[in-house]
């Protein structure tokens, strides 16, 4: 992962968020870069140099003079406690620009980077960074080994699988800083973050510690869910001979749902009729129906049940006392049906 290495060893070598004093002594640019790294934000560019904007611009524009870069070094005071950089791009940009400055002899100088658009500078400096990489690593490696602490900056934009151009990771204290281990660590962090999410998702995983056991639990959970699907589909299949799914066609394909005429029963609210047309009418009516259904408006239930009946036979039995529920488990009739299912499910 060569392409991922440059930014890694850059901040890695820079290290030194809190050990700023030592860093300033060790490497010229590291202190400034760390200061910039810790401050982050839009003002980091000038904070990097510790100079007012004009002077910073002056220093950066020529870009052929290492001495100005060295002059930058002692300027910023050691950074305060490292603040978690809000975005990985911002802190790194001054790094990149700074490095472009320092290694301008090796790298093509980036075009004048105005402070306001750091991304532009970063983009331009990135090209220069690659070439400066080998030289960097030597010096930075030494600095890193001598360096003390480092912040850990997660890879930018975690959560999706796209690989950003640069993975901004810093070496942790006492850990190897070569590019491979850094990339490895970034990958591991990603995997661990997702394991955490999975642990929350899968019930009963929070107590378990250790990747293998958690994976075991996840596999068991997925398999149990799949078995539930099979069991439920068997239940549906068992009941099915009486239910003719062809009758659903009229409900599902009709757009407006004005198939009340199709129903034998009169006086059916369109609201109930549109229950099957969920994709067409959206969740709103569905919820209305449900709320009506549950919040005391028991005049509808028998009509709701009749929807199912129509599919089967095309005629509507009339119910007076029963409360069929399509979505609830807590009616006694459905409850009795449900508990054996849940019992069986738990046995599975």
């Amino acid at each position: 992962m060569r392409h991922a290495s440059p930014p890694q060893e850059l901040p890695a070598a820079a290290a030194a968020a809190s050990g700023g004093e030592i860093q300033a002594a060790l490497a010229p640019a590291t202190a400034s870069s760390t200061a910039a790294g810790t401050r982050g934000g839009g003002g980091s560019f000038t904070a990097l140099l510790g100079l007012p904007t004009s002077q910073a611009m002056e220093l950066l524009l020529p870009r052929t003079a290492p001495p100005p870069a060295l002059a930058l070094a002692p300027a910023p005071a050691p950074a305060p406690a490292p603040a978690a950089a809000p975005t990985p791009t911002f802190p790194s940009d001054p790094h990149l620009v700074d490095r472009a400055v320092r290694f301008s002899t090796f790298a093509p100088p980036s075009p004048s980077p105005p402070p306001p658009p750091p991304p532009a500078a970063a983009a331009a400096a990135n090209a220069g960074k690659r070439k400066a990489e080998p030289i960097d690593r030597a010096s930075k490696g030494k600095a890193a080994k001598k360096g003390k602490t480092a912040e850990e900056k997660p890879a930018g934009g975690d959560g999706d699988d796209e690989k950003p151009a640069y993975v901004h990771v810093r070496a942790r204290r006492g850990q190897a800083t070569d590019s491979h281990s850094l990339a490895e660590r970034a990958r591991r962090e990603k995997v661990n973050a997702r394991m955490e999410l999975l642990k929350e998702l899968v019930p009963g995983c929070s107590k378990v510690s250790g990747t293998a056991l958690v994976l075991d639990e996840i596999i068991n959970h997925v398999q149990s869910l799949q078995r539930q699907v099979e069991y439920l589909s068997m239940r549906l299949a068992a009941v099915n001979p009486r239910v003719d799914f062809g009758g659903l066609d009229s409900f599902l394909t009709t757009e407006c749902g004005r198939i009340a005429g199709f129903n034998c029963k009169n006086g059916i609210d369109l609201e109930q009729v549109t229950w099957p047309e969920m994709g067409v009418h959206g969740a709103r009516q569905l919820m209305q129906l449900q709320q009506q259904f549950w919040h005391g408006d028991l005049a509808h239930p028998h009509q709701v049940a009749s929807q199912w009946e129509k599919r089967g036979d095309g005629h509507l039995p009339v119910f007076s006392n029963s409360n069929p529920s399509l979505f609830g488990y807590d009616l006694t009739s459905s409850g009795t049906q449900q508990t054996p299912a849940t019992k069986l499910k738990t046995e599975l």
Partner: protein
Amino acid sequence: MRGPNNAASSSTSKGGGAMAAFKQDLLRNLLLGLRARTAEAACPFDAMSLQERKRAVKCSADVAMAAAAPRRASATGGRARWPKAILAAAAAASSSSHSPSGTCKVRKSACKCKRVARRRVDAKRIRGYAAASCDVARRLVRRRTMALRKVIPGGNAAMDDAALLRETMDYVVHLRAQVDVLRRISAAVQISTSLRDPSQSMAQL
């Protein structure tokens, strides 16, 4: 799971606002698929055996879930891969004249994975060499990762661990929704059939 509280919670949305649309899509797809399957199939629904019906329902449910999933994924960004895998498997299965591929595979692979894991561990003990604990842990993790790949549809594709875990998360969420929808459907259908024949004493599963 009784009482009006649960009723209210279950009535406001079919299990979480974020998944409500998916569940509705799933339900619709499922019903459409079942209808299509029974309508165009040579054997009507009644004529199929229980196993065949179950398989048909399950395949329809899986395909419905796979078809309904991308609607959510495209909105949030970053599509998962398992829907395509399910659809591909279903297409292959349907083209190969209804060979019982889908339902049996899961169980078989699951058994196989566990068996493989156990066998390997025993072999190691027999050989009797002490491996470093971290290596053992790594090996176990890798074995389980492979098992997970077999369980998750489309997990065998070239994916690193992070992507696999993400697929797993996505798949688990959608599986739960599918189970929920299926449960509701079966409950509703059972109620409807019981109400249709109130006099008969139906065998309640």
